[in-house]
Symmetry: C2
Subunit: 226 residues, 2 copies
């Protein structure tokens, strides 16, 4: 028993769309809560997605290896986000844990069948996917048009409001410089230089250990805008 009733993301995640005790019971029996450790991959680019599921805790990356060998991170999955590729098509990207995470997985075929017979769930997944698409397109603008410093500033702002942060304006950055670079379409040195430039301007400070303090949110927003 993993207790959907006690699931910390039930309301926000896809399952929140299910209402009758009957439905909940069925999906409950389908799902299995698993722990994935940092670096572990749960879906491989190009393979049929064997599982789909919800992120309960942690952070995963969605990534594609480009022809020239560099990795591009095409999305992040935070708690309550849905991962995997339902309905037949092969996964367009890998899904890998960036930090130790716990996810609730369903066998893909069983999930497909369940979704087809429970319109509520299909509906909810559709809305979620439309939102993901909007976000992906917004990110395309960043990749295509923004300067390195604007990209970095955008990312830091993103993480500031999506990541566990202290009461002061401190964020614990979950990404290495390399991962930021993979996400922003830059190289590691450029990310590093951009961040130190922000520090030198007093916009952020770096108390060490992947901690970041946003000293001047407005300046950061201005830089992020381009």
């Amino acid at each position: 028993m993993h207790g959907c009733a006690a699931c910390p993301v039930r309301i926000d995640a896809l399952c929140g769309a299910l209402e009758t005790p009957d439905e909940l019971e069925t999906i409950h029996r389908l799902g299995r809560r698993i722990e994935v450790s940092r670096g572990q991959t749960v879906v491989w680019e190009g393979d049929e997605s064997l599982v789909v599921g919800n992120v309960i805790e942690g952070l995963l990356k969605l990534s594609i290896i480009s022809a020239n060998g560099t990795e591009q991170i095409v999305g992040l999955a935070y708690p309550s986000d849905f991962i995997g590729r339902p309905f037949g098509a092969n996964a367009g990207h890998s899904v890998t844990a960036l930090v130790d995470s716990t996810i609730c997985v369903f066998p893909r075929r069983a999930f497909d069948a369940f979704a087809e017979t429970h319109p509520q769930l299909g509906q909810a997944l559709l809305r979620r996917t439309l939102d993901d698409l909007d976000r992906a397109r917004q990110w395309m603008v960043l990749l295509a048009r923004k300067s390195a410093s604007a990209r970095v500033a955008s990312l830091l702002l993103d993480m500031w409001d999506r990541c566990p942060s202290g009461p002061d304006r401190t964020v614990m950055l979950p990404l290495s410089r390399q991962q930021m670079a993979d996400l922003l379409g830059l190289v590691i040195e450029t990310v590093s230089r951009s961040i130190t430039a922000l520090r030198d301007k007093g916009v952020v400070s770096l108390p060490g250990g992947r901690r970041l303090v946003v000293e001047e949110p407005d300046s950061l927003k201005a830089i992020a805008a381009d």
Copy 2:
């Protein structure tokens, strides 16, 4: 009467998911076939999408104006593609005709209601949206990692198999250099230079008037790969 039965894209478009005569009749009464001329916008970025619909004939762009004023094309809509943003959220991008086109539009609210009561349609839209998302992420890799010439080569290949082309390897390019630049995250001069470089290498030839002949498909593919 605009005759869904005679619609050239009915099978491929979203409506292909509807099966009973009853459903078809209902959606038929909801839809209206309209002509949009080159340059005309049917959905505005940031506004609530008043209409959604299917492209019947022509080509539209999905675009976002970035903070610094440059336009980024985040997608193209070919015949049988779905356009507009159902379900509440404001449109993340504008939709504008690149050439004179004809589309079949539905009032957004009525479509939303119809989709919620007809799971078949919701299902079909979900599959389509998942595909769009995969494509958008693939495009992110191009924008983030590929060289200018690889981007241009990728685009030419894309258009070669999606656009009406002669029995020889001739394509009628539907995009101006500016539009290609907006799509590829480049400036117009760079696009122009890349294309002439391809011509000089004998990979393509340009018989004038926006026509393009792919002389060496394999070379073009190699360049597109990076």
